[in-house]
Amino acid sequence: MADDKKETEPERPSVASDIAALAKGLKTTLTETFRPVVTTMYPEDKTPRAERYRGRHYLRRYDNGLERCIGCELCAAACPVGCILVIAAENTEENRVSPGERYAKTYEINMLRCIFCGYCEDACPVQAIVLGPEYELSDTSREKFIYTKEKLLEPLPPDVQARLHAQDKK
């Protein structure tokens, strides 16, 4: 059917059809004017993130408060840009930080280098490091982008916490 239309001679535009075309254009823009705005007012409204969105990192704890990280440095090895620094130390009876033999005495991520690939999360044998949903990471100095253990151990947003908890049970 579409081919039939092509064969017919194209109609020579007349003044009337030209004016009709202009009027049609004006009508289109006018109706668009009264349709709702599609812009997301960014700082106030945010578009939803995907469930597995890879934003800033978090170090998780067990329910009893012990850190999950066992200082194995597999995340640092897996990291393609080498932005993770882990220095491990032995757990002792007096100072037990994680359930394993060792724990991460120092855990630093250079967020300026991180490419948010999520390999660290995949490499971790105890699911200690996860990438959360936050993506607004701007700051005022380079030093502030070296995320130390204190910052990484901040509690996860409750909804992510709940989802990861359900995954652990499986």
């Binding site: 254009g25 004017t33 705005v37």
Partner: protein, 337 residues
């Protein structure tokens, strides 16, 4: 009050105060025309437009103005410095001068305009034709190929459309029998039981259409914005201008836009007469509607190609305007004898 008018010094005091007031009103109106345009264009594209600075983004223009005012006053190398500085001044002076004779309204026997010139409309055209000098000189003085091309295009465009613009209004003058803008707005008919002012578009509809198209071309606005065609000429004559000199061109463009809207209201839509609405507000309302029309056209139509622009001007609008003059003259002679 009458003593003050007849006293020569008092008269000048009133004129100077009126000029200052008009400048203030015009500058404010220009700022909010820009705001209105940005919001309206945004809505056409389903964006909200400026909405950050002040309530509904109403202070956006203040922010823009401050930003532009504090920019470095930059003059590119090898420009003709004198002309480069004078050109935007001509633009803004010409734009404001036209408002000396535009009557805004007559309310409680007070005239809301500065001068009641008996050839008012001619004066408006004479002054608005100066705008072409601003653009051509600006384009020439910038020492930039894009600017020069923009200036040349503007000269050709304005000369082409000035003719049909002038001719489109001749039927109106013939019907009214005066070039005074006040007389045109106050033109009274005696149609059976009705005696009073009418929108003259009823008598000169073709003249109005020609005026509308030519006026868009005169003010260099889309779809006739060839002198500053961004995609081809970077910014045309504006390419080398920034800071306050850019502000002057920008201001002139929007003042001209308000001027042609105001003229359209006065010449075709009964000026400040609208049933039940106080004169000055009626005038304002009509001008805003016209401004919306211009913005709406800008948001709808793509720019004309240069040859199309010339063809439309010389082969369509000019002959049509001439035929309109002849036909109106014939009818007038037939009716009035």
């Amino acid at each position: 009050m009458n003593d003050l008018y007849t006293n020569p010094i008092g008269h000048w005091v009133i004129v100077v105060v009126a000029i200052a007031l008009l400048l203030f009103v015009l500058l404010t109106a220009t700022a909010y025309t820009v705001w209105f345009e940005r919001v309206a264009l945004g809505r056409i594209q389903r964006r909200p437009g400026p909405n950050r600075v002040g309530p509904y983004g109403l202070l956006q223009l203040a922010a823009d103005g401050i930003k532009l005012a504090f920019k470095e006053s930059f003059i590119p190398a090898k420009t003709d410095r004198v002309l480069y500085v004078i050109a935007p001044t001509i633009a803004v002076a010409a734009a404001f001068l036209a408002w000396a004779v535009i009557p805004i309204g007559l309310w409680y026997n007070v005239q809301y305009w500065i001068a009641d010139v008996n050839v008012g409309i001619l004066l408006v055209f004479a002054v608005s034709a100066l705008n072409v000098y601003a653009i051509v000189i600006g384009g020439y003085a910038s020492n930039n190929t894009y600017s020069l091309l923009g200036g040349l295009r503007s000269a050709a465009q304005l000369i082409s459309y000035e003719m049909s613009l002038g001719l489109s209004l001749v039927p109106t003058f013939m019907i009214v029998g005066s070039l005074r803008l006040r007389d045109i707005a106050e033109y009274t008919v005696h149609w059976g039981p009705y005696t009073g002012p009418i929108p003259l578009i009823l008598l000169t509809p073709i003249g109005f259409v020609i005026y509308l198209i030519s006026a868009v071309a005169e003010t260099n606005r889309a779809p006739f914005d060839l002198p500053e065609a961004e995609q081809e000429l970077i910014g045309g004559f504006l390419t080398e201008y920034s800071g306050l000199k850019f502000v002057m061109y920008y201001l002139a463009e929007y003042v001209n836009m308000i001027t042609v809207s105001a003229l359209a209201v006065l010449l075709f839509f009964g000026g400040w007469y609208l049933w039940g609405v106080p004169p000055v507000f009626a005038f304002l309302l009509k001008v805003i509607l016209f401004l919306f029309l211009y913005i709406w056209i800008r948001g709808t139509f793509p720019r004309l190609r240069y040859d199309m622009l010339m063809r439309l001007g010389w082969k369509v609008l000019l002959p049509l305007a001439m035929v309109n003059v002849i036909v109106t003259a014939t009818i007038l002679v037939a009716v009035q004898g």
